[in-house]
């Protein structure tokens, strides 16, 4: 037995050392360099990512997304769905309080949800389109639905259903809801989330203070958050943001260009975090029979679209654009999305297959394709150069057209393009949002591609009121198979969220939906 003792001891010591390194310390603050400022942090009016991705710091939802993507309790300690799927009953926790000390009641929940689903207010009301009415009695909140809605629980964990204080909001100055929202935010809002707004210099900086009344307990059993404050500086320029981190002037910097990931990963003072995300980079292909000028569109032929996909070496693109941090797409949606189905990367590089498909389509003689790129985007420029070099051997003459963002959107709307690039990240922890955006013709002509597949559209409509999870999973599997086969996109890659964090900060997370989560971040003292 004796020889074993040192080993055992060593293991025990090692374990002790590991736990002490992870023992959470409370207090202190962290500073965070952002790429853009929030205009308004309000669950209803926020429409840009810098706004959306901060809402969870201020407004807690009834349900939450767990770390594995499952739905877990939030302000509501329990929830139940009726057998017909048309009634949702939630029970609030005891003793919930807003940051000003006032209790969080059913009345606040009704107020917040009614506001969130009012189509006259914000752009997100549609997410609650199935809700007929919201009522509260004591700690019990009841949602009556017009029809069963499989996404409703995910929506109750989405930023737009964050719970706001009715009394304090209504006291804010202004005649309309929008004016009140502005005044409420500007005055340092009363919050239900882990933080509150301490100060803000528009366009430059923002400071969060700990909400002492936040409900969720930390690892030490006391309420979160661990930090007393988070200080934000807005630095749109990537290089300056990183220099500031390297100089130790901030503790973390978000949106690290992938070109810098390797270098920062080698920096002993920093942790280079690559958070799994639902972000995809893809290129809608115009599938309409005719081009905008009336000429016959070769891309209307599914064989040609498949050929382009086979002719695209995704591994090289991933190396060039994401510096090896990306992954090939396996479905229309990212692998981190619920109900994702994609056993293997779509269209692995195979120039011979591409050549054969083009032959079948009668296009062996080559043809011209125009790539619409975003002016000023280095990534688009790289993609264009690489695709041009990859496709040239097949006789595809790729030309470029540079436009600005609004023009690109306009071209996408009117179908005046061949191929262009787009990026997407889910806002909701459910596949319906991304699937509707990319494939459902009636929403936006399947992301402007004009792809109109009857089977896919039917499945999508059916899945939106499908209460049986297994049936819904089957419908999603089939939709993803059809989409992959039909290739209305050039499937490019998935990318992570790259955030570089000082070694003294632990526990900061950017969620797969992009939200900045500081609730469990803490600063280690040396």
């Amino acid at each position: 037995m004796t020889p074993l003792l040192p080993l055992f001891l060593g293991a025990a010591l090692g374990l002790a050392a590991a736990t002490s390194a992870l023992a959470i310390e409370r207090g202190g603050s962290m500073s965070f360099a952002r790429y853009d400022d929030s205009a308004i942090i309000d669950p209803v009016y926020a429409d840009r990512n810098p706004d959306l991705w901060m809402i969870n710091a201020f407004y807690e939802t009834l349900l939450r997304n767990g770390p594995d993507g499952s739905i877990v309790p939030g302000l509501a300690e329990s929830h139940a769905v009726s057998a017909d799927g048309k009634t949702i009953t939630l029970t609030l926790r005891d003793g919930l309080r807003f940051s000003d000390g006032s209790p969080i009641t059913g009345e606040d929940v009704v107020f917040s949800l009614d506001r969130a689903r009012n189509p006259d207010l914000g752009p997100w009301a549609g997410l609650l389109g199935s809700v007929e009415s919201v009522a509260a009695e004591g700690d019990t909140v009841t949602l009556a639905l017009k029809q069963p809605d499989p996404t409703i629980l995910s929506i109750l964990a989405t930023f737009n259903t964050g719970i706001m204080p009715k009394a304090a909001f209504e006291k804010a100055a202004g005649a309309t809801d929008q004016e009140k929202a502005q005044a409420f935010f500007a005055g340092g809002p009363v919050t239900s989330g882990p933080f509150m707004l301490k100060s803000r210099v528009q366009g430059a900086s923002m400071s969060f203070a700990r909400n002492p009344n936040y409900w969720r307990p930390g690892e030490d059993g006391k309420p979160l958050p661990y930090l007393d404050a988070v200080d934000f500086t807005v630095i749109p320029d990537d290089a300056t943001r990183i220099l500031k981190l390297q100089a130790g002037e901030v503790d973390a910097a978000e949106f690290i260009p992938f070109a810098r990931v390797g270098e920062l990963g080698a920096d002993p003072d920093l942790k280079m975090e690559l958070f799994p995300s639902t972000r995809i980079v893809y290129a809608p292909i115009n599938t309409r029979e005719a081009r905008a000028d009336g000429a016959k569109n070769p891309l209307a032929d599914v064989k040609v679209r498949q050929a382009l996909n086979y002719a695209t070496n995704k591994d090289v693109l991933i190396k060039l654009v994401t510096f090896g941090t990306g992954k090939p797409m396996t479905s229309l949606m990212s692998a981190a999305t619920q109900l994702h189905y994609g056993p293997e990367p779509l269209y692995p590089y195979d120039p011979e297959k591409a050549r054969a498909l083009l032959g079948e389509a009668g296009l062996s003689g080559g043809f011209e394709v125009k790539l619409t790129t975003l002016a000023g985007s280095a990534d688009d420029a790289t993609l264009f150069t690489a695709l041009q070099q990859m496709w040239a051997p097949l006789g595809i003459d790729l030309t470029v057209e540079q436009v600005d963002n609004p023009t690109r959107g306009e071209k996408n709307r009117s179908g005046a393009f061949d191929i262009h690039t787009y990026g997407w990240a889910n806002d909701v922890n459910d596949p319906a949002q991304v699937t509707g955006w990319l494939g459902y013709y009636k929403q936006r002509q399947a992301v402007g591609t004009g792809w109109n597949n009857a089977e896919f559209n039917d499945l999508f409509e059916k899945s939106n009121s499908e209460v049986d999870p297994e049936k819904r999973r089957g419908e999603y599997k089939r939709m993803q198979e059809i989409y992959a086969q039909e290739a209305p996109l050039l499937f490019l890659f998935e990318t992570p969220f790259a955030v570089a964090v000082s070694r003294s900060i632990e526990g900061y997370v950017q969620t797969p939906l992009g939200a900045n989560d500081f609730s469990e971040a803490w600063r280690a003292r040396k």
Partner: protein, 313 residues
């Protein structure tokens, strides 16, 4: 001091100019190809939302009506709402303006501190070794874009040597002086090259001028000659030059604010442009025009105060 009537006359002169300025700003947005409302809308906007934007901007009215409304609103300080920041344009600009003005003044002071003594040194012995060295260095400075000067300073002084902060903005006056030194210096290096060139020439001219030679011959002490004649003349020409190059200075701060992440109106202008936030672009363009006019006016005033002869003409 210049008389009140002189000031008034100058102000009256500005009115037609400003009306034209307003026409330009008005037309810039209206003449663009396509519908500004669509350009401003988010990709996911519905037709109703686009119609709403059009109504908010008054784009459904005939052009002359729009112009009258635009002038009236502008005069009452209402520049519309920023699309990107969801706040009144006036409010947004006023919040950022002090930073830019601080940065501009800071760089002017730095430029004078830099160019002044060197110009005297160079002019004292024209075409001497010091003169040639100083002029060569500044000639190179004149050939460098402000953003490049900024990048060099940023890399060497902030990132490599860590002498100064990388960027941002302070909370107090002294803190600002410290935080903004590199951005101010980038603009100052370019401005000082212009000042130096002019100041050196005017100093050489004055030192050669008959009345200075005469004053010397009269036996006036060099110090009196220097302050009474040389300095005064040098100041007149420098003030004029600085006044006239206020546009350059503003262009420089626009660039340097972007390089150093300084939250002023210059960086805001670029952000507004990338977001196609037309009300904000309009408001900012107007703000810059007002700034330049005010400086032109101040230059006139200071000039006529320094050199009473100018007032008669």
């Amino acid at each position: 001091m210049p008389s009140l009537s002189y000031l008034l006359a100058r102000l009256v002169q500005i009115i037609p100019t400003f009306l034209l300025v307003m026409v330009f700003i008005f037309l810039i947005v209206r003449l663009l190809p396509g519908d500004p409302a669509i350009a401003m809308a988010e990709a996911k906007a519905t037709d109703a939302q686009i119609e709403q934007i059009r109504r908010n901007l008054g784009l459904d009215q005939p052009l002359p009506v729009q112009f009258v409304v635009f002038v009236k609103n502008t005069l009452t300080g209402d520049l519309g709402r920023s699309i990107m920041l969801k706040a009144p344009v006036t409010e947004v600009i006023l919040a950022r303006l002090p930073t830019t003005i601080f940065l501009a003044l800071y760089s002017v002071v730095l430029a004078i501190c830099l160019a002044g003594p060197l110009a005297f040194l160079a002019a004292a012995r024209a075409n001497g070794a010091a003169d040639i060295a100083i002029r060569s260095v500044f000639q190179v400075g004149l050939s460098m874009p402000v953003f490049y000067i900024g990048l060099l300073l940023l890399t060497v002084l902030a990132a490599k040597l860590r002498l100064f902060p990388v960027g941002g903005y302070g909370t107090s006056f002294l803190d600002n002086l410290y935080h903004l030194i590199l951005p101010a210096l980038s603009v100052a290096l370019y401005t000082s090259a212009i000042i130096l060139r002019n100041l050196r020439a005017s100093l050489i001219e004055v030192l050669d001028a008959d009345y200075v030679q005469f004053a010397r011959a009269k036996g006036l002490s060099p110090r009196i000659v220097m302050t009474r004649h040389v300095l005064r003349n040098a100041m007149v020409s420098t003030v004029t030059l600085l006044g006239l190059s206020i546009g350059n200075l503003m262009s420089g701060t626009l660039v340097t604010e972007t390089v150093f992440a300084v939250p002023g109106v210059g960086r805001l202008m670029l952000e507004a442009i990338f977001a196609r936030d037309y009300p904000l672009i309009q408001g900012l363009t107007l703000t810059f025009a007002v700034l330049v006019s005010v400086v032109f006016l101040l230059t006139d005033v200071v000039q006529s105060w320094l050199d009473p002869r100018l007032r008669q003409s």
